[in-house]
């Protein structure tokens, strides 16, 4: 369930887990001449990412699920088609069984994954955009703009997540677009804070002062110089954000205020499975696993990105 925590470890310098340790940590200040070809930040990060087994597993999951979402529906039947029999366990014809209305569980899970990814990614893109804009403006202009924006963020953060989500749903109604907007409107807070912090930090750097002294326009500095530097943590937040958005959507649908039936939402499926726990546990099992794997994939990738990009002073 997403509640603003979503398995996100607070910002501490990550610890190397490899066999060796960069020399700096050993107390050696060795100035090494060209050990190997000089690498760009991305290549370096990718190399570290590749070595992280959990992160690669997460990446594999994400890619697999995206493929399922894109091509899966071609291989399964229409999720809304109801067969005459219902509540049947897994058979050859219906590998995941049939639910209490006669729908094919496999088909619904596949479509559910597609829906989850769709909602998750869209919501995250939207919230990132909002967060970056607000954070950048607050961090750059500071003072009045900053106080107002941050006060607003604090107020929103003071409201427990679910209640806030409920509030937005009340306004926006139910359904896919409402859910996307709700998720976006609640998730941008963290991004905004991070971006703002990044801006404040980078703003003070000397080369920015130099650019300003030379008369480069504010907007240009923001876009060309500061933004690229601040993007690192944002990328991590995005990856984790998709995972958490999917979790939230499942939670909202489970509570009955998310996606409307007969849309195949994984959360809805779990909610429907409540009453059949003892008679038909597979109704709960399959969508549950699907949610877990999807969220897990993104969280692992996000963690992996964070470790890969958190290079101290290379």
């Amino acid at each position: 369930m997403s509640d603003g925590r979503d398995g996100f470890v607070p910002d501490l310098p990550s610890h190397q887990t490899g066999v060796g340790t960069p020399l700096g940590a050993l107390g050696l200040d060795v100035s090494l001449t060209e050990i190997g070809p000089s690498r760009s930040l991305f290549e370096d990060a990718w190399r570290r990412f590749r070595r992280n087994k959990l992160a690669m597993f997460g990446l594999f999951l994400v890619v697999f699920l995206i493929l399922v979402a894109l091509f899966g529906p071609l291989f399964v039947q229409d999720p809304t088609k109801l067969s005459k029999t219902y509540l049947e366990g897994p058979t050859n014809q219906h590998p995941f069984g049939l639910d209490n209305k006669g729908g094919d569980v496999l088909a619904r899970v596949v479509h559910g994954i597609r829906l989850s990814l769709f909602i998750g990614i869209l919501a995250t893109v939207l919230e990132t955009f909002i967060g970056v804009v607000v954070g950048a403006l607050a961090g750059w202009y500071g003072r009045y703009v900053d106080s107002v924006a941050m006060r607003f963020v604090d107020i929103m953060l003071g409201i427990p997540y679910i209640i806030l989500a409920y509030a937005f749903i009340t306004v926006l109604g139910r359904g896919v677009s409402a859910v996307i907007l709700t998720l976006a409107f609640t998730a941008w807070l963290q991004t905004a804070r991070t971006v703002r912090a990044g801006f404040i930090q980078v703003k003070q750097l000397e080369y920015i002062e130099a650019a300003r002294a030379l008369g480069v326009s504010g907007r240009r500095i923001m876009l060309r110089h500061i933004l690229p530097n601040v993007l690192q943590p944002v990328v991590v937040l995005m990856a984790i954000g998709v995972g958490s958005a999917i979790l939230s959507e499942a939670a909202l649908s489970f509570l009955g205020v998310g996606v409307k039936p007969p849309n195949p939402s994984l959360g809805l499926m779990v909610s429907d499975a409540q009453s059949f726990l003892s008679s038909a546990p597979y109704l709960f099992f399959f969508p549950g696993i699907a949610i877990i794997l999807t969220v897990l994939g993104f969280l692992l990738v996000g963690d992996g990105l964070r470790d890969a990009l958190d290079v101290k002073d290379n």
Binding site: L23, L28, D29
Partner: protein
């Protein structure tokens, strides 16, 4: 009179992602009673690593150490954990570079000194506290009775380092190893703290092994010097002798790059060209040869590692050097020609 501490043929290697870094490649160093021995070198020369090896403070998993560290007649490299623990602080004490990170921020300075005193003897809390106050006063911290209850961050940089010195001396060690004790301090305070260190330590009857990259520091304080480069000692002498008659191209280069008060107005500072070598893959032969102005293939500079005390002919004839500790040694195959080739530093 045997030396207090004798490091013999020390080799220290660290395994890293990219291979084994040979930080120390065969070092012999001796400290005698009453000495202030300065070990000088650039970053990466292995000087700090050598210092940390004495008390076995390297991370166990990734470090390989060979050679001997003789403290009296026991070898600290092979000593038991418990014996090593008892040596630490009570017989050999260490002072680190940055007192802000070397001291634990959540305990008072007094508590940290007390903890050390009580680890080495059956001392009551109040007696330990008195000792802490006494030591703080000794190092020139005003109002020690009050400041003993302060936290490290409540001291200024210089005072903090004095407190560390006080802590190091609290159990009356015979040797104090100071690893760049003033590098992290304000320039204005450096000289004071250093003087205090040498002064108080000597008065307590302890010897000092001072690690530094600053030759200027060496001139005023040390009586003996060892210059390190790329994991080996390249020159070793009494301080006076080294400044009078530097005999290794690296040492001469270092001295030439120092600004001098008595230099001509238009005399130039001459830096040493090139880069320090990779310790993953040090150059063959003399590690300094790629940067050395007088390196010569025929002399073996790029193939055979020079020794501190033997000239090529002595090496060939199997001669033994007596009393190596008090000799002026320089690890250069062209040692005899250095003076005429490079001139004196003042020239």
């Amino acid at each position: 009179m045997p030396p207090l501490l004798q490091i013999e043929d020390l080799h220290v290697g660290f395994s890293t992602e990219d291979g084994v870094v040979q930080a120390v490649r065969g070092v012999d160093i001796a400290v005698e009673e009453g000495d202030v021995l300065a070990i000088v070198g650039e970053s990466g020369s292995g000087k700090s690593v050598t210092a940390l090896s004495v008390l076995g403070l390297h991370p166990k998993g990734r470090t390989t150490i060979s050679g001997r560290v003789m403290w009296g007649d026991e070898d600290l490299v092979t000593a038991s954990d418990e014996r090593l623990r008892r040596v630490r602080g009570a017989e050999i004490a260490m002072i680190f570079q940055d007192p802000l990170s070397a001291l634990n921020p959540v305990y008072t300075v007094g508590r940290q000194i007390m903890e050390m005193v009580r680890a080495h003897g059956d001392v009551s809390k109040s007696a330990a506290k008195e000792r802490a106050i006494e030591m703080l006063g000794l190092v020139g911290i005003p109002q020690p009775r009050k400041r003993v209850d302060n936290y490290p961050h409540e001291f200024s940089g210089g005072m903090r380092q004095r407190a560390m010195i006080a802590m190091a001396l609290s159990c009356d060690p015979k040797l104090v190893i100071a690893d760049e004790p003033t590098t992290a301090l304000d320039v204005t305070v450096q000289a004071q703290v250093l003087e205090l260190l040498v002064d108080v330590t000597n008065r307590q009857g302890a010897a000092v092994m001072l690690i530094t990259h600053d030759l200027g520091v060496v001139a005023g304080m040390a009586n003996k010097v060892a210059v390190m480069y790329a994991g080996k000692v390249v020159e070793q002498a009494a301080a006076v002798d080294m400044f009078d008659e530097p005999s290794h191209p690296y040492t001469i280069g270092l001295l030439r790059s120092l600004p001098r008060v008595d230099a001509d107005g238009d005399a130039q500072l001459i830096p040493i060209g090139g880069q320090p070598p990779s310790m993953l893959n040090p150059p063959a032969g003399c590690a300094f040869h790629p940067r050395c102005p007088i390196a010569l293939r025929e002399a073996g500079c790029d193939t055979v590692i020079p020794t501190l005390y033997h000239t090529p002919s002595e090496l060939a004839s199997g001669e033994v050097v007596d009393d190596p500790i008090h000799q002026h040694g320089a690890a250069c195959w062209r040692r005899d020609e250095v003076a005429e080739l490079l001139g004196t530093v003042r020239g």
